[in-house]
């Protein structure tokens, strides 16, 4: 949390989709941080301790895709909530960390904000 608002980190390599996600997060009343790939996301998570939720794409360039990133975050920062989105066919729920949510692209904004509200509820 930062200044009473939950902090959401968006990880997405496509600039236009990232913009849309930032708008979605801000209009839901949260603070939005952005990263273009897993490496940048990890750097941000290492540099601050107030990130409450990570909203990540799956297909990204770099060392890790979104699935590996979500497992890495769960191992290293267990309290951080996870939402994963993908344009590819439905992933097996079992390939994601327990308690994370998965959405197919294009995702419905309300569905995402509802999921965030549920995950961020105290």
């Amino acid at each position: 949390m930062n200044n009473g608002k939950a902090v959401v980190l968006i990880v997405e390599d496509s600039a236009l989709i990232r913009m849309g996600a930032i708008d979605l997060v801000r209009s839901a009343g949260y603070e939005a941080l952005e990263a273009t790939d897993a490496d940048e996301a990890i750097r941000i998570l290492e540099s601050r301790d107030d990130v409450d939720l990570v909203f990540t794409d799956v297909q990204m360039p770099g060392t890790m895709d979104g699935i590996k990133l979500s497992h890495y975050i769960r191992d290293r920062w267990p309290p951080v909530k996870l939402i994963v989105a993908s344009g590819a066919a439905i992933l097996a729920e079992s390939s994601l960390p327990v308690g994370s949510s998965f959405f197919l692209k294009p995702y419905d904004s309300h569905a995402i904000t509802d999921a965030m509200a549920r995950l961020l509820a105290p």
Partner: protein, 350 residues
Amino acid sequence: MPTTPTVHFEAASTLAVVVSSNEPPLFLSDDLKIIAASASFCRAFEIDPASVPGRLLSELGQGEWGMPKLQSLLMATASGSVKVQAYEIELKRSGQTPRQLVVNAQTLDDGDVDRIRLLVAVTDVTDARAETRLKDNLIRDKAILLQEVQHRVANSLQIIASVLMQSARRVQSDEARGHLHNAHHRVMSIAALQRQLSTSPGGIVELRAYFKQLCQSLGASMIADPERLSIDVTADDSAVEADVSVSLGLIVTELVINALKHAFPDERNGTILVDYQSSGQDWTLSITDNGIGMPEGNEAPKAGLGTGIVEALVKNLEGEITLADAGPGTIVKISHQQGKGSRTDVSKAA
């Protein structure tokens, strides 16, 4: 005890059959000496036919047929303990690429129990195996490419949908925001179709699954209280081409949004039913709600049909659209009958 000579005069007919066979068989004695080899075998494996009779199999060519595994399998066949069926083996000859062979071997059962002879069939499957591998690679590459395309389409639709939502959040006017939300819903309807297409072969869409997904998505984004309002889907097993399902999906989107917006004011409870039935080439799509019903007057029905989109789509599908009182509520029916031209009279049935 005198040893019987291993060379024994086989029936002339047997030898003739072996030698002239198109499939390359070998006719062997139980100590793996060749009694006869077909001309096709000699041709296929570059063996001089004259050098064949009486030679040990392992002495043929440059000894390439002396593979220990083959030898032991043939000996086991001769002793009756094994029948070699479709055994794959690699033939390695110096200076040549290896060949994949399929070997079948059995003892010749012609009633002569004293002399064990083996009939060995050898088929060169190298080219067939290479073709299969190539085909498998092509199929896999195609599947990967299709996934790539699907991924890009999903991303593109995501961009469009979120641009519309961003605009909707910024406009001041309710009317403009409504239009942008509608546009967003139509994009999500296309997206649902994309997903169906990506999982179904041949570009055919199963309507029941598609409509269910569509209505679930519409409900998730438009129904604040699922205890109060719900959308049900009933459909037969129809599966139609992508073009038709795009139109049907857009019609369902428009009419369901309409019902959600206009049929249940003042926190009324209600249900919207989407139904699709077909018989041969004829089909009927109906959207029924149990809300307040249509207001009086001729203008209302037309205005309620998504600014002409529904009419245009129905015309495109060569169908007819009718509105009727569902007592309570409204039923909008779109039907297509083979042989009838398109009519889009919006007539209020009694």
